[in-house]
Subunit: 340 residues, 2 copies
DNA sequence: AAAATCTTCGAAAACGTTGTCGTAAAACTA
DNA sequence: TAGTTTTACGACAACGTTTTCGAAGATTTT
């Protein structure tokens, strides 16, 4: 690791200057004469000197990097958010490192602490489906690490949050199903304590109510692992199809749940939307080549990532502590295809 | 950042011991008496002390973390590889951080240098479609940072490599298309200098030759950005369909190219496989709900990730320099569905 | 009882950087 | 010319660890 690394010390030796002089010259300090500065800079450039950011971080407590913690990356919603994050972060000269929790509470705690102690400058987080407890985030936040949440956000923690208008999205999708003539609409969703679950459920319920339809518990199925475990979705769907009053439509609440549900229905050789219609929250770029083409509630994922990053950088670079936090809500878009 | 952080110094003050004693006690050194050790450990546990890995890294030149550099994460092949990487890395107590290059040479260089100087212990890389030049990897490797390549590997650099049996995979897929009666088989692939491109092309050509079919340049289309830019694929496809002898089948060489091609054919309302059959390299988990269900050459992505990580850890933890490097080749699987 | 050996700990250096402070020489002021 | 300010640089401490070395006290060996 160390063999070829070039440090300030090498430059100082070669040029017969002190390390502090070299450091200051490199940073363009006014204490150093123009000649010395250009001498140092020229030489540093020539031998391809790169400052060691971890030493800088140690010294300054800043590292110009931000970490993203998401449940999974194999999910177009999250990967699009990450692209949004990178678009802003790179522009502002921050590096972005990504870690996934696989919906595991334990991994989330570990990775949070890891990022904290490797001193990233901030965290952008969407909470794992298993994480009922969010103390680990509160802890690092109290120690001065800025955190911004998106999508799955905790009520408890005071900070910036960026979400899609989940209520509206679920409302419109349900409304659409009702307009198509469906009366028994089921909802397959994630862990009941996640913010997105509550918000989307609320939209679903309101649409039913507005249309004078009953809200039936038997039509609402929670998947504790957010669809990570296929059996979970399979069981939920199976229970729905075993009901006396089988649902004639389903609203699925997440990317993974949507594709898994369609996949199972296809396996069961069920006619979509003939026997059962399907609308789901999903940002998959392949929705139009699904069979049938998938009606989707699409979240402004890229925008969410951009917004979260702007807010985070604001927190990081603010001189004095910020206390009035905002919750940005971005609108979803309902794209109707053939599955409904 | 620093406010709440607990350091060895805090412990040493509280217990009236020197920092060196505390450090050694924490690491279980035999120089420290059992009582002192348990005293220190108990106290450290109680106040929730966490060693600062970046300081450890500075001191020891090791950080117990490895970085993964891939073109994109919104791609089931790469996300599955990453899952394989994490499965081994976490077991061996390494943290995994992920960065994407978006097929950009420039970003690849930047992120490589960034990881090097934040002193990760090793790199697992699949090269960007733009990167004809791989000097940046050679450079960090010469400075002592172990690198393992997978999937898109450079010929030039001597190190461990893990790839799918691309030749065999392409051969079987082409063979299958021929058996289905197709005689004009096109091949849409990535940048011509990528290893996977050459290997898959070779398999395609051999299958044609074995069956006494001509190899025609007009049927072979390269996409310099690996399908990242949709127009690229669109143009390639358009040119193929404008030929006098339109192809009656296509073999696509990557995840993104496969879905994009199907998507465009769907837009063009072409009958797949009636007018044109399709087989492609892809690890998408949604292949069975595509319209039509997609015939896929599936790579053992998870296994590739696992293998690459085992080899990397071996490089990292080896006492003396390793010079006999291996290239592991893992078999693909052809899953025939309805698109061919 | 003196000498040798352990045992247990602390002082200090090191990793690569930055920032504070001190200081010699040069430039100005009176 | 003496005094004051400015310029341009170097010494040193600090960030949080680990490790080498030395040394005091305890224990064992002769």
């Amino acid at each position: 690791m160390k063999s070829g690394t070039i440090t300030i010390k090498d430059i100082s030796k070669a040029l017969g200057l002190s390390v502090s002089t070299v450091s200051k010259a490199l940073r363009g300090s006014h204490e150093i004469s123009a000649e010395t500065q250009s001498l140092v800079k020229e030489y540093a450039g020539r031998i391809n000197y790169k400052p060691n950011p971890i030493a800088q971080g140690l010294r300054k407590g800043k590292s110009k990097s931000i970490a993203v913690i998401v449940p999974n990356i194999d999910n177009n919603f999250f990967s699009q958010v990450i692209n949004g994050i990178e678009s802003i972060a790179h522009k502002k000269d921050y590096n972005v490192i990504i870690t996934q929790t696989h919906e595991s509470y334990e991994r989330e705690v570990l990775t949070t602490q890891h990022h904290f102690s490797r001193s990233v400058d901030g965290l952008i987080v969407s909470i794992s489906a298993e994480s009922e407890n969010v103390d680990h985030f509160e802890e690092v936040q109290n120690k001065g690490l800025p955190v911004v949440f998106f999508d799955r956000v905790p009520d408890k923690i005071k900070t910036h949050k960026v979400i899609a208008n989940n209520l509206q999205g679920a409302f419109e999708a349900t409304q659409h199903l009702i307009q198509q003539g469906h009366r028994h609409i089921a909802h397959i969703t994630s862990s009941d304590f996640l913010s997105i679950t509550a918000e989307r459920l609320e939209g679903y319920i309101r649409a039913l109510e507005v249309n004078g339809l009953p809200v039936e518990d038997q039509y609402i199925k929670y998947c504790a692992h957010g669809g990570m475990i296929k059996e979970e979705t399979y069981d939920a769907l199976h229970e729905l199809l075993a009901l006396k009053n089988k649902p004639d439509a389903i609203l699925t609440a997440s990317d993974r749940l949507s594709t898994t549900t369609l996949s199972i229905l296809t396996q069961l050789k069920m006619n979509v939307p003939g026997e059962i219609a399907l609308v789901g929250f999903t940002n998959t770029i392949s929705a139009d080549i699904f069979n049938p083409p998938f009606s989707a509630v699409v979240q402004p994922a890229f925008e969410i990532g951009k917004t979260a990053t702007e807010l985070l950088v604001q927190l990081i670079e603010s001189k004095r502590p910020i206390s009035n936090f905002e919750k940005r809500v971005l609108n979803t878009e309902l794209i109707i295809r053939k599955s409904s």
